[in-house]
Each structure stands twice: as structure tokens, then as C-alpha cells.
């Protein structure tokens, strides 16, 4: 450890592993350290099952759960958008070669106490039970507009310029009712609250296109999920970093980030000090440099059946838009199962999560839990959401934000690319990744 590095990365969560990979590929000498014995930090998949029970202070699981090491339970539930930023990062860095994926089978939205399939094309819109007959026609016209509109081509705007009109104005032009606006904004554009209504429509248009382009890639739903769980993602980027010369140390406590004149010069573990120009880390390594901006509640549910009313889907996402249950932020339900090698044969893992709004967060996720049917075992966690207090340019300590309640990785990637830009002064050059040798499909 007593060496000099360009950058030291602390924590092996997904964001830190992507950064570590990008820095190594860019020719930087990187030391990557985690205080835990395992990769992934908060974005790890916990295995074996006994470990999950221990983590939450529950008595050991009985024999009914099958073999413990067939389980890989995520701590943070997320899916990848098939055409989203993380998939682009995986492709451009070649990390996709370490992973295999499955399409998530169903995407549902909650309305009036029951769930319906999210309609995304004209055909599905017409068949959907979410809308009445006339509303369906209006929604179809809206979808056609979104599909055809190009931001920089006024001929496609049909007198509705998405760059100047707000989303609310666009909705009103099509005469969509509140209900349709609700599932469009939350289940297609994947907004967590309603602030987008008063911003220009262009961002929402992009988001709906991302949803439908993602859906077009593999069918069924726009979401992908990796075999063996999300914990495979940070590990893939860690390997990328390692094969480009990054040094890895797990199970290594960090005692101090050493500063000189307010600027980082090294990291101390016990008596050892590793020198460096920069530090990249998650909030848990620098409690004095982050501020708490909220809380997220997540409930892991082990079940021996799929979610009712989802046509026995082995993987599902359900979005409960805030207004449907009188809240300010959405509730998310996700389900994965033995078919993704994350649970023993016949078992399912559901996760219900949301941004905390009250003193009684467990009560807040009840509408989500009510959809699941009988749950064999429940693990509830409430975690603080931290953001860095500064941009790191003076201290050269670059801190990622905690993982938010969204069910996909779009915000995760934005944070990573922004940190990389701040740390290196440039955008990541994907052409530096060698994909030719030993990679016959290139």
C-alpha cells in the first residue's frame, strides 16, 4: 500500500467501480480499497442467505429456503433500461462480456387499488383498461406525437414546440386527463414527483422515447436484470480496472484521509499511508463532507410465489404513482426470482421502496406490500440519502451521492459521468478501451 497513486478510490459500490474502471482505462494509476471483505458496498448482492438474515439480526433461516448459496439478494433494487446510459457504459467499456441478462417480464402501474400493464404503443393503448374509450384515442394521438417529434426539427412539432411549451401544456393540448398524465409521467417517463409538469416538455419527451426504445430492444419490458444479481455489476467494472493495472484491496479499514493545505495528499490505514493526487469515494468514507438530504425505505420480501395479477411473471416492476395513494413520491415494487440465480428454486425476492415522507416509513410502503400476497420473510431498512457538500475541486476529494429510490440506473450514471468530468477535466474517452484482442465479436 505504501506507494504513490494518481487516484485512490474508497468503497466498491457500483459508482466507485465504474469510476475506478474509467480512471484505469484512462492510464491513471489507481488503488481501490474497501473496508468490507466483499465487493459492492451498498450495491452488493448478499450471499449466502444466512448472511442476509444475520445482517438484519434475524434468526437463521429454516430448511424450507433451499440451499443458502443459491441466494444473491440485492440491497438496493434497480433494473437497467435496455437502451439506457448504464447499458451504453457496459457496451463501450466491454464490461458486458462479464455479464448475462434477462428481460424483466412485466411492467405494471397501479390505479385505484389494482395493477395494469403499462401501455406503451398504440395497440396496447387501445387494449388497456387504464383509460376509457375516448381517452384511449387521445392517448394514442399523444404517443404518435412523441414518436414523431424531433427536438430540432420544427416540421415535426405539429405547432407544439417541446423546447418552449411545458409538459402540462402539451398534456392539455391533447386533452389528457389527470389519470393518464399520472401514469405517463410516472410509469413511462419515470419521474418520482410532479415537478416536471412545469418544466419544458423536451426532457419528458426524451424519457418516454428512452422507455419505448428500451422496450423495442428485447420486448416484454424495457428493463434488464443481470444473472446472479446486481452485485455482478460493480465486480465487472472492478475487473475492468484491474486488467488495466488497478490495484485492489478488500477488508482494509481506512483511518484517515490525509490533507495538506486543504488538498488531499494520501490515505492512511493503520500505520500505512498511500500517497495520491485525488480521492474518489462514497459518502460513508467522508461523513464530515456530506449532508443528509433525505431517507429511503426499502423492504426485502422473500416469497414462494409470484406477485398476484401479473400472469405469474418471474420478474416484474410495479410503479405506484404518488397521487394514487396520496403521497409526494412514488412507491416502487420490483420482483426477481430463481430464474435469475438470485434465489433457490421456486423462490422470489420482492422489494418495495420509496422516499421517506413521514415519521412512520413502514406504513408508507403498505400499498406496495398489499400487492404481494403472503410474504415468508421481511427485512426493512431505512437508509439516509447523502449528497456531497462541495464539488471536490479544491480538496480533490470527489464524493458520489447515495443511491436514490429510482428503480433504474439513469441517475447513477449521470452522477458517475459528472464526477469523472470534475475529477479529470474531460469527458471519458471510450476509444481507450481495447476490445479487439481476444474479443472475436468486435
Amino acid at each position: 500500500m505504501d506507494e504513490e497513486y494518481d487516484a485512490i478510490v474508497l468503497g466498491t459500490g457500483l459508482k466507485e467501480c465504474i469510476l475506478s474502471g474509467m480512471l484505469s482505462v484512462s492510464g491513471k494509476k489507481v488503488l481501490h480499497v474497501d473496508r468490507n471483505k466483499y465487493y459492492g458496498g451498498e450495491s452488493a448482492s448478499i450471499t449466502p442467505l444466512e448472511e442476509l438474515f444475520t445482517r438484519f439480526g434475524a434468526p437463521a433461516p429454516d430448511d424450507g429456503y433451499g440451499r443458502g448459496r443459491d441466494w444473491n439478494a440485492d440491497l438496493i433494487p434497480k433494473f437497467l433500461m435496455a437502451n439506457g446510459s448504464l447499458v451504453k457504459l457496459l457496451i463501450h467499456t466491454g464490461v458486458t462480456r462479464y455479464l448475462e441478462f434477462k428481460s424483466v417480464e412485466g411492467s405494471y402501474v397501479y390505479k385505484g387499488g389494482k395493477i395494469s400493464k403499462v401501455p406503451v404503443d398504440q395497440k396496447e393503448a387501445l387494449a388497456s383498461d387504464l383509460m376509457g374509450m375516448f381517452e384511449k384515442r387521445r392517448f394514442r394521438n399523444f404517443l404518435v406525437y412523441i414518436q414523431d417529434v424531433k427536438e430540432d426539427d420544427p416540421r415535426t412539432w405539429k405547432d407544439m414546440d417541446p423546447n418552449t411549451l411545458t409538459m402540462q401544456q402539451i398534456y392539455d393540448k391533447f386533452g389528457l386527463d389527470k389519470n393518464t398524465q399520472d401514469f405517463t409521467g410516472h410509469a413511462l417517463a419515470l419521474y418520482r414527483d410532479d415537478e416536471y409538469l412545469n418544466r419544458t416538455a423536451v426532457e419528458t419527451v426524451r424519457r418516454i422515447k428512452l422507455y419505448s426504445d428500451s422496450l423495442a430492444r428485447y420486448g416484454k419490458s424495457p428493463y434488464l436484470y443481470p444473472m446472479y444479481g446486481l452485485g455482478e455489476l460493480p465486480q465487472g467494472f472492478a475487473r475492468l480496472s484491474a486488467i488495466y493495472g488497478g490495484t485492489y484491496m478488500l477488508d482494509k479499514p481506512i483511518d484517515e484521509i490525509v490533507l495538506e493545505n486543504g488538498r488531499v495528499v494520501g490515505v492512511r490505514s493503520g500505520q500505512e499511508v498511500a500517497k495520491c493526487q485525488q480521492v474518489y469515494c462514497d459518502p460513508s468514507y467522508v461523513p464530515e463532507r456530506v449532508k443528509k438530504t433525505g431517507q429511503v425505505i426499502r423492504c426485502i420480501c422473500l416469497m414462494d410465489h409470484p406477485i398476484p395479477n401479473t400472469r405469474d411473471a418471474l420478474s416484474t416492476q410495479i410503479i405506484i404513482p404518488q397521487k394514487q395513494v396520496g403521497r409526494k413520491s412514488d412507491i416502487y415494487v420490483s420482483l426477481v426470482s430463481y430464474t435469475h440465480q438470485v434465489a433457490a428454486k421456486g423462490w422470489f425476492i420482492a422489494m418495495v421502496s420509496t422516499t421517506v415522507e413521514t415519521e412512520n416509513p413502514e406504513q408508507e410502503i403498505k400499498p406496495g406490500l398489499d400487492l404481494l400476497g403472503p410474504v415468508r420473510q421481511k427485512f426493512v431498512s431505512v437508509s439516509d440519502y447523502y449528497e456531497p457538500t462541495d464539488d471536490g475541486l479544491n480538496s480533490q476529494i470527489f464524493i458520489s451521492a447515495s443511491y436514490d429510490a429510482t428503480t433504474h440506473f439513469e441517475t447513477t450514471c449521470l452522477d458517475v459521468l459528472d464526477i469523472f468530468r470534475r475529477g479529470t477535466g474531460e469527458d471519458f474517452d471510450f476509444s481507450k478501451v481495447k476490445l479487439d484482442l481476444g474479443d472475436e465479436e468486435q
Binding site: V25, Y39, T47, R69, N83, V87, L90, I91, G94, T96, R97, Y98, L99, E100, F101, K102, R217, Y218, L224, M227, Y228, E232, Q235, G236, A238, R239, A242, I243, Y244, G245, T247, Y248, M249, L250, D251, K252, T339, V433, K434, L437, G438, D439, E440, E441
Partner: protein
């Protein structure tokens, strides 16, 4: 990939830092040898494919190196996933690197239950110098682990002796054991690798 008709068989190298895993990897990829530990020469190299013909049947071995992650015992569990074979490598002139193999074996059976396991004593050019790991020690090890080891080899990356023979033999083992399994697998799962969207000429599904 759907476009590759010959199945790739992932083969991983396991063992202590400095026993010659990257040297084996370099022999396999470019048939060269460098004396000093020179990470530069394999920097960015992830895995390498080589095709073998076993009794008229084509098979593609895909050899993976650790990327140096074993130096402080930080290999990812992903490294083992989907492996069809694992080569336990030790140095014939370093008994410590041999005795620690049981730990590596445990990792393999934990994370890659179905992998066939092979034992490889490297640096055979140093044979005759002491201390040494003997044939007896190797046999004893195989007995202790209940015949989990499919075959044992001695190689020298310095001279190249035994290296090609080892990989050819491993290819043979895999062809034999996979004959029935490959057919089973093809109907098993519909998971897939992500491919860049532009050059997809046919559905990129592995099923």
C-alpha cells in the same frame, strides 16, 4: 453470441500471486515469455480464445487471467461464474504455493460448481532444485480432494514445455464431458449478452 456457432468454454486460472498464471496466459495468447513480472504486456488483455479440434469436433477454449486481483485476495466472485474449467496453478519450486491450493479449490467449488478442475505445476524447468513439490505430493492432493481433479500437468512457461499439450488435453476433457450437457444447456435458459445495437444482424439472444 448468436453469431458464434462453436461454443466457447470459459477456462479460468487460479492460484497464488507469482506462480506463473499470467505467463501461462501469455504463452497461450502470443506464445511468448518475459522473465520479469511485466504487467504492462498483458495490460487491458481480458481473455483470449483459441480453437481446438478434438476428434473432428471443434471447441473453443476461452482462457481468463485474474488481472492481478489475487495479490491481496480480492478476486471477484464474478470471475468464477460461468466457468467450465479451472486450472489450479502452483510453482513446483514453491511448496507454499501448492499447500494453499485447497483455499482456491474451495472458491472454485463455491462459485463455479460445475467447473472441471485441473492441477498444473509450473516452472518445471526449475526441477531438481530444492525445495520441490513432488509427483507424490500432487497425487496425495488429488486423493484428498475426492477426485475433484480431472487431470494433472507439469509445464514450463519459460521453455514452453507442456503448455500446448495441457490446453489440448483440457479441450479433450471438455468435449467429452460436454457432449450431453451442451444439448441440455441449449434448452435451459434464455439469458443473453448485450451487444451493441448497430451491428445486430440477427436476434442477439443466446437461446
Amino acid at each position: 453470441m448468436a453469431s458464434v456457432k462453436i461454443p466457447e468454454q470459459k477456462v479460468i486460472l487460479c492460484g497464488e500471486y507469482g506462480v506463473g498464471k499470467s505467463s501461462l496466459f501469455r504463452r497461450y495468447t502470443t506464445n511468448t515469455f518475459v522473465t520479469a513480472t511485466d504487467r504492462q504486456s498483458t495490460l487491458g488483455l481480458d481473455h483470449f480464445d483459441r480453437q481446438y479440434n478434438v476428434g473432428g469436433k471443434e471447441i473453443r477454449l476461452q482462457l481468463w487471467d485474474t488481472g492481478g486481483m489475487e495479490r491481496v485476495a480480492s478476486i471477484t466472485s464474478s470471475y468464477y461464474k460461468f466457468a467450465e474449467a479451472a486450472i489450479l496453478v502452483f510453482s513446483l519450486d514453491n511448496p507454499a504455493s501448492f499447500h494453499v491450493l485447497s483455499q482456491h479449490l474451495l472458491d472454485i467449488v463455491t462459485y463455479a460448481e460445475n467447473a472441471k478442475i485441473f492441477l498444473c505445476g509450473n516452472k518445471s524447468d526449475l526441477e531438481g532444485q530444492s525445495p520441490q513439490v513432488t509427483e507424490n505430493d500432487m497425487e496425495h492432493f488429488c486423493e484428498q480432494c475426492h477426485n475433484l481433479i480431472s487431470a494433472t500437468y507439469k509445464t514450463s512457461c519459460k521453455t514452453g514445455q507442456g503448455v500446448d499439450e495441457m490446453f489440448a488435453d483440457i479441450a479433450q476433457h471438455l468435449v467429452e464431458s460436454n457432449r450431453s450437457r451442451l444439448e441440455l444447456q441449449s434448452m435451459d435458459t434464455e439469458s443473453f449478452k448485450i451487444t451493441p445495437p448497430d451491428d445486430v444482424t440477427e436476434p442477439s439472444c443466446l437461446c
